[in-house]
Amino acid sequence: MRNFALRMGGAWLMSGLTMVLSPAMVYASEATAASPVPMNDGTAWWVWPVVLFVVTFVMGIIAVLGGVGGGVLYVPIISGFFPFHLDFVRGTGLLVALSGALAAGPGLLKANLASLRLAVPVALIASTMAIVGAMVGLALPTNIVQILLGATILGIVVIMFTAKKSDIPDVPQADSLSSALRICGIYHEYSSKQDINWKIHRTIPGLLTFIVIGFMAGMFGLGAGWANVPVLNLMMGAPLKISVATSKFLLSITDTSAAWIYLNKGCVIPMMVVPSLIGIMLGSFVGVRILKVAKPTFIRWMVIVILSFAGLKALTKGLGVELF
């Protein structure tokens, strides 16, 4: 049964990857970019939403197994290999990240793993900057955004390579700002059956970093878990579980602000959004089940390879170079 589940999981992942990275997708993308008039290749209207659903379903599985958010996979892959314009991909990417955060947020808050006290000041900065990022991103020429997106994705790959994690960072003393705001808490660690007291430090540099994180989240529609967690955990000293949970919850606020800008600008096509949301959510449910039997190291490497490929594709697409 265990082997069967593994084989099925592997088969899904491989078929999804094959579809995501197939020459047909590349052709579709390039054909669209090169064509000044709308494409009309006789494809039935329901084909693209179904393909989108299947691909995002696989993406949802990979996101859970690879420990990344859906948005960071969605935007570079869909914008690189599908015929949708980057404006709609970013709008949908934000909604994908937002829906994942909304689904996880209540449970994480109730379990006291996501800290509202930690999230409120961070979210205030990140959501404000996400609005600015979204406005700048929509005002810049598409190829510039595509190039910056590619560079950012490759930067994320470097972060995934190099960033360390600390389960319970050593915070000798809370700084004055976090003490004044009483940003601290206790959570129950089931693995060690202990209640862990936590506090944070370096609050001001940490908050300032969210200026950049929020801006990038809004500009590229990526979500920002890849950046939130290292900053909360390594810079500010929050325990890893609190950092991961608070980061996930944070996305529900940061991405909301940017999503409104994209929504008001008209960057939402339901035929793209709904299959993507359903696909990634169902994929996430399945991913959680496969997680029990999958090898996380392999999956993480796979995510790094996929992101590297998608980042390069975004970069070359923005530069107008047909590398692959």
Binding site: F88, V120, S127, I131, V268, I269
Partner: protein
């Protein structure tokens, strides 16, 4: 919320926030399934015919809005901001309602915890929560929409 009250369990406002977020999320998602079914099953008419959507999603958003406005809507300007509300009698634009609910539930969550924060003397967080409501409301208002 004072330091002496810290415990393993979540604070009152955190639980209130979670409760509203959960209800809003479920309502939004359920509505999304319903409105999308009404749209794709052809139960409701669509502004942009389903078999034509793929003709336009490769265009930059400004050009997309201009084209669908010219071909199907006929307004002075394309449907930006909240003007989609005038089109919710159509399946494609009806789907904006659950998306707006999912995007708006956080504003309600924040607004709901403000009174409790001030009641407990947590002025700093009360003020930050109000500021967040104002920022999200500004983003939602459509006043900040800019184009290429």
């Amino acid at each position: 919320m004072s330091a002496t009250n810290i415990s393993v369990t979540a604070t009152e406002e955190q639980l209130l926030y979670a409760k509203i977020l959960e209800k809003g999320m479920y309502f939004g998602l359920l509505l999304m399934f319903v409105t999308f079914a009404l749209y794709v099953l052809g139960i409701m008419p669509a502004i942009v015919p389903k078999d034509m959507v793929a003709e336009y999603w490769n265009l930059p958003v400004g050009e997309y809005l201009e084209t669908i406005n010219h071909n199907y809507i006929g307004w002075a300007h394309g449907p930006t901001g909240w003007s989609w509300m005038k089109l919710i009698g159509n399946g494609d634009f009806l789907n904006f309602v659950p998306i707006a609910i999912l995007s708006g539930v956080t504003i309600i969550c924040y607004a709901a915890i403000v009174p409790g924060l001030f009641q407990r003397g947590d002025k700093a967080y009360g003020i930050m929560a109000i500021a967040e409501v104002l920022i999200l409301a500004l983003a939602a208002s459509g006043l900040l929409a800019v184009g290429h």
